[in-house]
């Protein structure tokens, strides 16, 4: 596809792939960079140096062994529950939207929102940590009142792409939604 470079809000490069299966169905995949070996090394050595300092003070070898276990379990939890490699958005006109995220460990989490529940897809602004960012979100229709919004589902919550990427996704989504 195009050569445009996308980054997330922290300036890290991300890639946006999209496959147009038909005029009613498009899939977007936002991929964040993999966990770098450098990050793992820094985190590990940080824990181990701390553990070694405690060991010097206490002379208790249990500290060292627990540091090893903490590092291993921490890494496992991180790739299984925190680190998301790909986030995808599958928009199928007149049917619904499927959101899925695949974790670094291979675990996948998928959810599907029916088209009848979706009011609109919009780009909104929010305060996130110490920044103000744009994000894409699905507005869910309130079952009681058709004109009201019952809740908001943010899209790409982990990769947080910047505005130029969001606009691209937004336009295609609107094209598909407006057709049905």
């Amino acid at each position: 596809m195009d050569d445009e470079k996308y980054t997330d809000i922290n300036g890290k490069p991300i890639t946006l792939d999209y496959q147009r299966h038909s005029s009613f169905c498009t899939e977007f995949i936002v991929s964040s960079p993999k966990v770098s070996i450098g990050t793992v090394m820094v985190a590990t050595s940080f824990v181990w140096i701390f553990a070694y300092a405690v060991f010097c003070l206490t002379d208790n070898t249990a500290v060292l062994s627990s540091a090893i276990i903490i590092t291993l379990i921490g890494m496992m939890l991180y790739i299984h529950f925190v680190k998301i490699d790909h986030e995808s958005l599958l928009v199928i006109g007149s049917l619904g939207i499927q959101l899925s995220s695949s974790y670094a460990s291979g675990r996948e989490h998928t959810s599907f929102i029916e088209m009848s529940k979706i009011k609109d897809i919009v780009i909104n602004e929010a305060i996130y940590m110490h920044q103000i960012i744009y994000y894409l979100c699905i507005l869910l229709r309130d079952p009681a009142d058709a004109s009201a919004v019952s809740s908001v589902v943010p899209l790409f919550p982990s990769s947080k792409p910047r505005l130029n990427c969001l606009v691209k996704v937004y336009k295609t989504c609107q094209e598909i939604i407006s057709k049905c």
Partner: protein, 496 residues
Amino acid sequence: MAPWRRKADGTGERASEADTIVPTPTQKHSICMVSDFFYPNMGGVESHIYQLSQCLMEKGHKVVIATHAYGRRKGVRYLTGGLKVYYLPLQVMYNQSTATSCFHSLPLLRCVFVREAVTVVHAHSSFSAMAHDALFHAKTMGLNTVFTDHSLFGFADMSSVLTNKLLTVSLCDTTHIVCVSYTSKENTVLRAALDPRIVSVIPNAVDPTDFTPDPARAPRGRITVVVISRLVYRKGIDLLGGIIPELCLRHPDLDFLIGGEGPKRIVLEEVREKYQLHDRVRLLGALEHREVRDVLVQGHIFLNTSLTEAFCMAIVEGASCGLQVVSTRVGGIPEVLPDDLILLCDPTVRSLSDGLEAVIGRLRRGAVASPAAVHARVRSLYTWRDVAERTEKVYDRVCVEEVLPLAGRLLRLRDHCGGVAGSIFAFVAVLNFLFLLLLRWLVPDQGMDRALDASGPQALWGPPQRDPPAEEAGEGSQPQRDPWSDGAPTAEGPLV
């Protein structure tokens, strides 16, 4: 321009707005109003900011407002005409004012200034810690600053001495200061040891269409005195407590109608209890802004007993509703209305009673101007369009001025604020600058998305008078669909 600033520009950090950084007097500004006080909080400063912003937007400027979060109201909201309000989650300390630490608000305020491509930062109210913080950060970031002072202070007591010192520090390198009356200007110049040439006077205004007279609503055969103010010491409620029994005794057909809430309500309730005046003194409690007019038109005389006041909006509102105004001669009040529309008294029970007596006598003789005539005169005196025009001139003047570089700022602080305080704040300024460098390294300016303009020259919502959107875009405030359509101009150029 500051050397470090030039370097920042050279690296293309703000390249997309390079043309807006060195503005010419005729060009449109991008203004960020900062104050702790904004709607849903009610008061004079709040309505001043709102009305001024609306009129500036009408003139084609881009205006955004930054304030702190009120309860669940946080994030970004849009008001009438695409007025964008940032409710930033900063901790509220006391009386709706945020904690001032000089640092913690920098990341968010910087984000607002950068993404909105702000050229002038306009802070309001000396009670607002966030306003002072914003001035401090804006100067560190090399933006031009304007400050509007809405209140008068004393010089004698301990708290005033401290506040004045802080104000001196905050204003000594602010580009321009606006006061609401000449008395307020004199007060501010003295308090903050300023050069009077950089202080302008721009009065407040009222919306004359909101405050129209309605003589049919005022009861016939009786005379009603209306008082609308917060029931606090500053507003002279103790004086009011002295006047009420005296006049009620002398005039059996005199009623009092008192709107507002506050700690001094107990004084009025005691008076009412002691002299059995329940049927003649009505306490309405807190009023919403839109109810004020309905209360005003029920009366014949508007009484203001303030002990200190920079510019009294209430008496203008009263006169605009066609009431006879009796007020104390304090602060900037004598400047506000022409002599034939107001009766000024000394802030004593005796003098105020005499003043009220005189007006009551005139009312009985029918020797007063009709409410419609009074309204017609007031209507042309203070309008928000006029205020906006004068503020625009201040912006034109400010934006061609140079912002002091860091070294200059430090020297200025040391010279103006005394050895100890000056040195301390110079140190804080250096820390703030280092913190800014750290933030620029963590999140570079070009890493932030430029916001799409809802007002100003590149407004996507159109001028406010042509296409006003809904009063407020609720919880899920959403940009309309048009901004993203093909070819829409954005801060980063046309979208692909």
